[in-house]
Structures are given as structure tokens and as C-alpha cells.
């Protein structure tokens, strides 16, 4: 039992915007009050927030691990020694699992969602999540290019589609549905891609539009706690803005989370400008549609390891000369992935533009509960850059100083000059805590109201917001002190979130013969063994 006394509490969900309050913790949860005699931490003058929630990062599984294997140079300059309480490991853009857990916790984050799990390789994802300490986790399962999903969409068989999706979520131990370049992944099997919502998906006779529309509906009908999590078509292509706008239109009131919107916010270029910012148009749509949320995928200058289920994109990136190594993996019937290590340079027009467009999105989207802080780790940069990004949003002088160092043309290609906004601490809490928790459907995360998990972070207010957010004084995970003055003092095992599965007919009767014919493993060996990986927490459906 513990009382964190007299801190300035920022908790948008409960309407506390720097209010002086006591936060009381009992049995890992926030409680109303405690007897006065209990242990007290004096937080007078300190800032108190809930633990951070990362809605989209690539931290575990086959693709992340291949990224680690092919880039020894990434780890060599960032060794992490063991201590009496922690395991050793390495960084930098693709940290080892232990280091991933520690570094998130050291920034005050306590929940992280792995953004791209291939169902066939789900057991690998869960093996790594189990080795990622401190954090609570969830994984989004890739379904947008899945053979069965596309077949049922073509046949218009909604019921079987839903049964299958529920089964695959349960079998893979997933939290929600993830769609990546719908149709493009399927076409990549035939050395092709899609370029817009109405392109044909070879072999399946469907279009990206149909895939997205159907899955938006189905996600609502199943009542999954998280919105449909979408990586749009045409990522990174100059001129992809119309595709992204058209995709947003499809939501029509249904819950849609568009990930790393920055990579989808490029207007067609013109002479001397390879691309122009589309942030204003996109922000206007988000501002008008409370059912749409986005995370930014903010570019961080320096090394990155791009890795995505958008395999055809990665092939194109590599062909265009981005990087010296290319990994592709085709996963039978389900999905694929690609990896290309790259560096974002502040000197290049494109790199600078991407960086600026990300900031524009943050600054133009009015409600911080609709725009979330991510770097699509490690695609646009490592998650360890979050404190730096927070400083860019809160400290206008610092931001302008940084903008002044960029190529003039890149600055002109965006509307950044007109943006004066400074994020407040309350808005940071919304963007990194209450907002993502709400869209994930996590009632017990992202806030400090009674009944919430006692993930509590205590910061020392500082003029340098980067230093402030990089070095919390205390981090509690479910009531246990895990970080003190930047040091990990305990590394408990976190839990993994799964949704409540409601309904769904048995699929094994028709799936078993499909497995025999088209998979390379037995149906019995496919589901992730719930007893082997624990603990799980079941999150109620809508």
C-alpha cells in the first residue's frame, strides 16, 4: 500500500489537469483512499501521470528478430551490461527483448502493443513478449492479405469470415486486427502491388476498398475492444494523399485507427519539390471525424531499421537504393514482411520533409486523444526518441531552432511555419496515455482513477522536457516500484492482453482439410498454447 502525496496529477480521462491530489495504491490498483499510516511518497511539486501506452511498435517476433540478426553494427555501439537486477543485452534501433522492456519502463511506459504478428509465427512473438520484462503487452494479428479472409470477402460470406477471424485472434493470442497494405501483400506473391483502393487483387477478385470496408464492419460486429488498425496502401509514395483521404472516407462513422499517418501524408511533388505535405488535408478530416484516430510515425534523424508486413513496399524501397540489405519473408497463406535498414538524414529533402510532416500532424490535429505519439519503432526511429519528440511539441523555441537547421525547400514544402501550438502537459498525457488506452479499449490503463492498474509515473518538472520525460523519478508498475532515478530496481513479468471472445462457430471442420492441403503444419500445432505463455488478461468486448 502506498500513497503518492500532493503531486500535480495530469489525467485527462478523470479531468485532472495538474490538480494537486494524492494517488493511493493497494494490491496493484488505484484505490480511493488509504489509512493515513501507510507508506507515503511526497510528490509535492512533482508531476504525476499514468504509465504510458504505446499503440504501435515492432518489438517482438520473427521480423524484429531478423532485423536484429542482420544488423550487428546496430548493437555494437549500444551495449547494455547486466546488473544485479537486470539482464544484459543491446540496442539500438532493434533492442534485445530485455532492453526493450527496461527502456520503455525507464521512460515511464508500461503498456506496449506489437503491431504486426503473422498468425503462423505467433508462438515466436509470444516467446519474445514473455522475455520483454515489466511491460504489459498485446499483439495485433495480420489479416489484410490472408487467404481465407480474402476468399470469404470475395464469396460475401460474412459469417464464416467472422468465425475465422475470431478463431485466428484466439489461436494466435492476438489482441486486435491489423491490416497492412490490403491486397498489396497478396499481389506481391505475383510480383505486383496495388496502387489505389480499386486495384484488383490478383487471384482473389477483390479490391483494397472491399477488404477495408468489410473488415471495418466486421470489427464492429465482433465488438473487438480495439478499432480496426490500418496501415494504408501506398505507404511512402509521393502523391499518396488521395489514397489516404479516400481510405478515411471509408470509415463512415466506424472506428478506424490509421497507423503512422506521416508516411501516408504526401501530396504530389512539383518542380524542385519531390513531394509536398498533405498534413493539413488529413488533419482536417481527423478533426471532423471523432471515430478516426491516428498515430504519427514521427521520423527521428539517425539510423532506423524499417520493417513491415508491407513486403512489396520494402522491395521498392530497396530497389530505389534505400539501404544495402533487403529481407523479404513470405508466410504461407497469410502475410509477408520486408526489412531494410536505412538512415534518416536532416540534410536530405525527403528526410526533412517527413520529419516536418510528422510534426505538422501532431500540431494540426486538435484533439490529442486522436493523435498518438509513435515512431512506428523502429521504422521511423527508435521509441527511445519519444522524450525528444515531446520536447519538440512542448517547446516552440527548441522546435524552431531545429527547423532552422533543415533545408529551406523542405520547410517550404510544408506548412510548419504557420504552426505556433505548444502542447501542454495535459495534452501530452492525453496523447501518450488516455488516448491510446481509450482506442485500445483498455479501461484500466492510461488513467489514475479508482480501479485502474497502478501504473504511475512521477516526473520532476524541468524546463528541458526531453530530460524530464527521459528520466522519471519513479515508475510504478501495478503498484511495484520498477524504476527509481533512471535505474531499474525491479523487473516483474508483465501480462498479455487478449479480447473476450464472444460467439463464433467452430471452424475446424472446414479448416482442417485446408490445413492438410495448403499449410505446412498441423492444425493441432497452430494455436498458441495459453498455459505455456502466461499471465493473460481478458479485456471485455464492446
Amino acid at each position: 500500500m502506498l500513497r503518492i502525496k500532493g503531486g500535480r496529477v495530469y489525467d485527462p480521462k478523470n479531468g485532472w489537469n495538474g490538480e494537486i491530489r494524492d494517488i493511493c495504491i493497494k494490491d496493484g490498483k488505484i484505490v480511493e483512499d488509504l489509512p493515513a499510516a501507510e507508506e507515503v511518497i511526497d510528490a509535492t511539486g512533482l508531476v504525476v501521470m499514468a504509465g504510458g501506452v504505446d499503440i504501435h511498435a515492432h518489438i517482438a517476433g520473427p521480423k524484429v528478430n531478423t532485423g536484429r540478426v542482420i544488423c550487428p553494427e546496430d548493437h555494437r555501439r549500444d551495449p547494455v551490461p547486466r546488473t544485479a537486477r537486470t539482464r544484459s543485452g543491446s540496442g539500438f534501433t532493434t533492442p534485445s527483448t530485455f532492453v526493450t522492456g527496461y527502456r520503455y519502463a525507464q521512460m515511464g511506459y508500461t503498456s506496449v502493443f506489437e503491431a504486426a504478428m503473422p498468425p503462423l509465427e505467433a508462438r515466436h512473438v509470444h516467446e519474445e513478449l514473455a522475455d520483454t520484462p515489466i511491460l504489459d503487452k498485446g499483439a495485433l494479428v495480420l489479416v489484410g492479405n490472408n487467404h481465407f479472409v480474402l476468399s470469404f470477402i470475395r464469396e460475401g460470406d460474412r459469417e464464416r469470415l467472422k468465425d475465422y477471424l475470431l478463431w485466428v485472434v484466439e489461436a494466435s493470442g492476438a489482441y486486435g486486427l491489423k491490416v497492412v497494405n490490403p491486397g498489396g501483400g497478396a499481389n506481391w506473391r505475383r510480383h505486383s502491388n496495388v496502387r489505389g483502393l480499386d486495384d484488383a487483387v490478383i487471384d482473389y477478385g477483390v479490391t483494397p476498398r472491399q477488404i477495408i470496408e468489410t473488415l471495418l464492419d466486421v470489427n464492429e460486429e465482433l465488438g473487438l475492444p480495439h478499432a480496426l488498425h490500418l496501415h494504408c496502401n501506398n505507404l511512402g509514395q509521393p502523391g499518396n494523399l488521395p489514397t489516404t483521404l479516400a481510405t478515411m472516407d471509408l470509415a463512415a462513422g466506424r472506428r478506424l485507427h490509421i497507423t503512422h499517418l506521416q508516411f501516408h501524408a504526401y501530396g504530389e511533388g512539383k518542380k524542385g519539390y519531390p513531394l509536398l505535405s498533405g498534413a493539413e488535408d488529413l488533419a482536417a478530416v481527423v478533426n471532423a471525424n471523432p471515430n478516426i484516430t491516428i498515430d504519427v510515425g514521427q521520423v527521428v534523424f539517425g539510423p532506423a531499421t524499417t520493417m513491415t508486413a508491407d513486403a512489396p513496399l520494402q522491395y521498392e524501397l530497396f530497389q530505389k537504393g534505400g539501404g544495402d540489405r533487403w529481407v523479404n519473408k513470405d508466410v504461407e497463406l497469410e502475410t509477408g514482411s520486408g526489412i531494410v535498414p536505412i538512415t534518416y538524414s536532416p540534410k536530405s529533402f525527403v528526410g526533412a520533409c517527413q520529419w516536418l510532416i510528422g510534426l505538422e500532424l501532431f500540431l494540426l490535429i486538435e484533439n490529442p486523444e486522436q493523435v498518438f505519439l509513435t515512431t512506428d519503432h523502429p521504422n521511423a526511429g527508435p521509441f527511445t526518441a519519444y522524450p525528444q519528440i515531446i520536447r519538440l511539441l512542448m517547446d516552440r523555441d527548441y522546435r524552431e531552432e531545429r527547423i532552422a537547421q533543415l533545408p529551406k525547400k523542405a520547410v517550404e514544402a510544408t506548412g510548419i511555419k504557420n504552426l505556433q501550438r505548444k502542447y501542454t502537459l495535459g495534452e501530452i498525457a492525453a496523447m501518450t496515455r488516455s488516448g491510446p488506452a481509450r482506442v485500445l479499449g483498455l479501461e484500466k490503463k492510461g488513467h489514475l482513477g479508482v480501479g485502474a492498474d497502478a501504473d504511475v509515473v512521477v516526473y520532476r518538472p524541468q524546463a528541458d522536457y526531453e530530460a524530464m520525460f527521459a528520466n522519471p523519478l519513479y515508475v510504478f508498475k501495478e503498484g511495484q516500484l520498477v524504476v527509481q532515478e533512471g535505474q531499474i530496481v525491479a523487473a516483474p513479468r508483465g501480462k498479455t492482453f487478449v479480447p473476450e471472445i464472444r460467439g463464433g462457430k467452430d471452424v475446424t471442420s472446414w479448416l482442417a482439410p485446408q490445413f492438410e492441403q495448403f499449410y505446412s503444419i498441423a492444425l493441432e500445432n497452430y494455436p498458441v498454447d495459453r498455459e505455456w505463455f502466461s499471465p493473460w488478461e481478458v479485456v471485455p468486448c464492446k
Binding site: 542482420i70 543485452g89 515466436h124
Partner: protein, 440 residues
């Protein structure tokens, strides 16, 4: 009591066929259905009569464990080696132990597919799962590998003979085999490329040139005529989805990782025209898992050293054969592998000279050299866990029998507890342990 366990994963080779039917009576395996001859031999001999040994003499398990702790705790630079025939949970326990002791840890990769991993670090890898091979591959290349003998069910389950979504069996697939001799695999090929010994790099370079429309081939290369090379490059390009498998004939012949780099680059280049993937034909059951576990826990796939308290990676320095040959290590712990049977003479001999501890379900050649032998319950027979197929697909293995000894993981955990107790001083982050034999 008789029972039949279905969909059992065979852990013998990297194919990890997961459809075996194991018949069990009175806690004994009496029959193996669907498996190949290799798997039958493995499972029908699952109950080997083995006992713990210290200095060659029978000992109680706890006495042997204590003797092992003694050796590990007093080593100045320990080598932890093997890991390919156990589950990932045991591999993780081995990493934890190596970290605690500031040891070097290496897998059998360094004498089989390690060069493939180094090549990935140079060029990346376009790859796929074995179900994609079955569903799509209309051109199959087997380079320096002989699955007909080493992975007997590979053809039927995944490749040449398999029927899948888009491709239906042998007649719809073209098969190219490259090897220095006409192996059993080569006999059924549509095109057999008989390579000169160590001619791989030259031939792959010539093929790459032809594929990319560059003429550096002259009269031929690596034992092949120009006509053969041209025929091969034509056949490769005609694929709608091609898959290239390579084995130790490529990774261990002269040029090692340069050979594999060239193969990976060839497959990469073929993706300009059509779709291609490449898969290392890994031999041991879970050698892929050792690469995975080491990478997610340390960042590095093999050849890792913890003497500074953090992982360092340097193949050639921290690879087992090199550490042994140079006399850099003063004790060894061998888990689920048999280096005495596979290492070059000098390196193998050192294992008999320094105190060596062996954890293995079988009384292996290395166990015979060892100071301490700890028998274990084999993963997939006496213990459950996770294994990774050659294409990195994870599979669960079951506990089939109650065997008299703990699992590899349990033994490794006991050793870690033991050394922590025995040398508490070392526990609190001794990050500057000296390398044995270097005098520094």
C-alpha cells in the same frame, strides 16, 4: 496402458515434420507412424539407459551436478556450446548461465550454417516458409544439400512432390541440383550441375552475371560449360515462384560466407524478374531456435561473449572451434550437441583436456571425453517446449514419456542456481573478468 499421440513434431532434422503418430505402451514408444527411417530410429530408441558420470564413474545425479557446478564456477573463461538439439526454453537458460558466468556461448551454427547468417548480415535474405514452397514453387534449386538422405520427408511434405495451392506435384515443378557429386537428390533432377570442388562461388557469380545480362562467363565456370550455365539461368528465370535451398556443401566449401552471399544475391537479383526465395537447409532439429533465442536476448545470432558483462559478437574469435583451438577457454559446457564427433581434430581434443561438462540425453562421443556427464530428458520426448523449423516457423513439442532425468532447461537452471550460490561475489556484475590465456 496404450495410447497414440498424434501430430508429434519430429525433432531430428530441420524439417520438423509435425505429423508423427507415436504409439506408447507402459511409458515406452512402441511404434512410430508416418515418420521416416531417421525418425523411427530416434523415437524407438528414446529410452537410452544412461547414468550420470563423474570422471567416467557412475555418480548420483546430485553428485554429478555438484561436480559440474564446481567446474563452471571455477572456470575463468567458460565455453557454452551446442544448443541445436534442444528447445528454445533450454537455449534461453543456457544464455542466462553464460551471462552469469561471463562465458562465451556458441551454437552448432558456427560449423554448419553460420556462414549463411554472416551472408544475411551482408545482403539480407529473401525467404519464405515451407508452405509457400509447397503452394507456389515451380522451380526448386537444391545447392550443396542432399535432402533425400538428410531430410527424407522434405520432398513429399514441402517441396518436389508436394501438392499445394498453385502447384500440384512433381510434374509441375522443375528441379535443379548443384553438387560436386551425383547425390540421391541429384538423381531425380531436371538439371544437374556437377560442380568442381570449391567451384560454387565461380558458378554462382557466372549465373548472377547471366541473370543480369552481363557477359563475364567465357567458356564456362566452376566445372560447367557455358551452355549449361545458360540453360540454368534460363530455367531459373522461367519460374513464377522459385525457391533455392542450400546446405553445407555451399556453406562449408571454400569461400564459406562469400559463397552464401553470392547465392543470396543471385536470389535477390532474380526478384527483378519474378518471385524467388531462399531457405537454408538446416540440419539439426532446432539450430534455427538457437539463432532466434540468442538474437532476441543478446542481439547476436551466435559467437557471443559475456566477459565484459554485456554481449559481444565476433565470429572467428568467439566461435567454439576458434576458442578451443587457440586455448582461450579453460572449461566447456556442451548442451545437446556432439562436437567431439564433428569438430576438427585439435579443437575436439581440447574438449578432453580441459574440464568439460556434457548435458545430453545420449551418451555421446563428447560425453565420453567429458569430466562430468549429466543425462537429460530430451526435448520433445521427455520435456515440452518450442522448436524452430529451418524456415523459422515455431512449433510446440510435447512431453511423451516420463524419463528419469530433468530436462536440459531444468538442469541449466540448477547449474545457474548452483554457481550463483558458490560464487556470490561474482554475481554482482563482475564485468571485467579476464580472458583466460591472454594474460591481460
Amino acid at each position: 496402458m496404450a495410447k497414440v499421440v498424434k501430430n508429434v513434431v519430429c525433432t531430428f532434422c530441420g524439417s520438423l515434420c509435425d505429423d508423427l503418430e507415436i504409439h506408447i505402451e507402459n511409458d515406452n514408444i512402441t511404434a512410430v507412424k508416418k515418420g521416416c527411417a531417421l525418425s523411427r530410429t530416434k523415437y524407438l530408441n528414446a529410452r537410452e539407459e544412461v547414468v550420470p558420470l563423474v570422471e567416467g564413474k557412475e555418480a548420483s545425479f546430485s553428485a554429478a551436478l555438484e561436480a559440474a557446478v564446481e567446474i563452471l564456477a571455477h572456470a575463468r573463461h567458460l565455453l557454452v556450446y551446442g544448443l541445436s538439439s534442444t528447445c528454445s526454453e533450454a537455449q534461453a537458460a543456457a544464455v542466462a548461465l553464460a551471462e552469469t558466468l561471463g562465458a562465451s556461448i556458441d551454437s552448432t551454427s558456427s560449423v554448419c550454417h553460420g556462414p549463411g547468417t554472416l551472408a544475411k548480415q551482408l545482403v539480407g535474405i529473401p525467404t519464405c516458409t515451407l508452405g509457400e514452397v509447397k503452394n507456389r514453387a515451380d522451380v526448386l534449386v537444391f545447392w550443396g544439400c542432399n535432402p533425400v538422405e538428410a531430410h527424407p520427408r522434405h520432398f513429399a511434405r514441402y517441396s518436389v512432390l508436394a501438392k499445394g495451392l498453385k502447384v500440384g506435384g512433381r510434374r509441375e515443378r522443375k528441379v535443379v541440383v548443384a553438387d560436386v557429386r551425383k547425390t540421391a537428390t541429384a538423381r531425380g533432377a531436371d538439371l544437374f550441375l556437377q560442380l568442381e570442388p570449391n567451384g560454387d562461388f565461380e558458378v554462382l557469380t557466372a549465373l548472377r552475371a547471366l541473370i543480369n545480362g552481363k557477359d563475364i562467363v567465357g567458356e564456362g565456370a566452376g566445372g560447367l560449360t557455358r551452355a549449361q550455365l545458360e540453360e540454368c539461368s534460363r530455367l531459373l528465370k522461367e519460374a513464377s515462384y522459385g525457391v533455392f535451398f542450400f546446405g553445407m556443401g555451399l556453406t562449408m566449401s571454400r569461400g564459406t560466407h562469400y559463397n552464401v552471399s553470392q547465392a543470396l544475391a543471385l536470389v535477390r537479383d532474380l526478384n527483378k524478374y519474378t518471385r524467388y526465395s531462399v531457405i537454408p537447409m538446416r540440419g539439426h532439429g532446432n539450430v534455427a531456435g538457437s539463432e532466434n533465442v540468442l538474437a532476441w536476448q543478446t542481439g547476436y545470432p551466435f559467437a557471443v561473449n559475456f566477459s565484459r558483462g554485456y554481449p559481444r559478437y565476433n565470429p572467428g574469435e568467439f566461435t567454439a572451434v576458434d576458442l578451443l583451438r587457440r586455448g582461450d577457454v579453460d572449461a566447456a559446457l556442451v548442451v545437446a550437441a556432439d562436437p567431439a564427433a564433428t569438430f576438427p581434430g585439435r579443437a575436439a581434443a581440447v574438449l578432453g583436456e580441459i574440464p568439460t561438462v556434457v548435458i545430453d540425453p545420449h551418451y555421446s562421443a563428447t560425453a565420453k571425453l567429458a569430466r562430468v556427464y549429466l543425462p537429460s530428458a530430451a526435448a520433445g520426448i521427455g520435456a515440452a517446449g518450442t522448436v524452430y523449423r529451418m524456415d523459422m516457423v515455431p512449433l510446440p513439442v510435447k512431453k511423451l514419456l516420463n524419463l528419469p532425468y530433468p530436462s536440459d532447461k531444468e538442469i541449466l537452471d540448477m547449474l545457474r542456481e548452483g554457481v550463483k550460490k558458490c560464487s556470490g561475489s561474482r554475481e554482482a556484475g563482475s564485468t571485467t573478468r579476464k580472458m583466460a590465456g591472454t594474460g591481460k
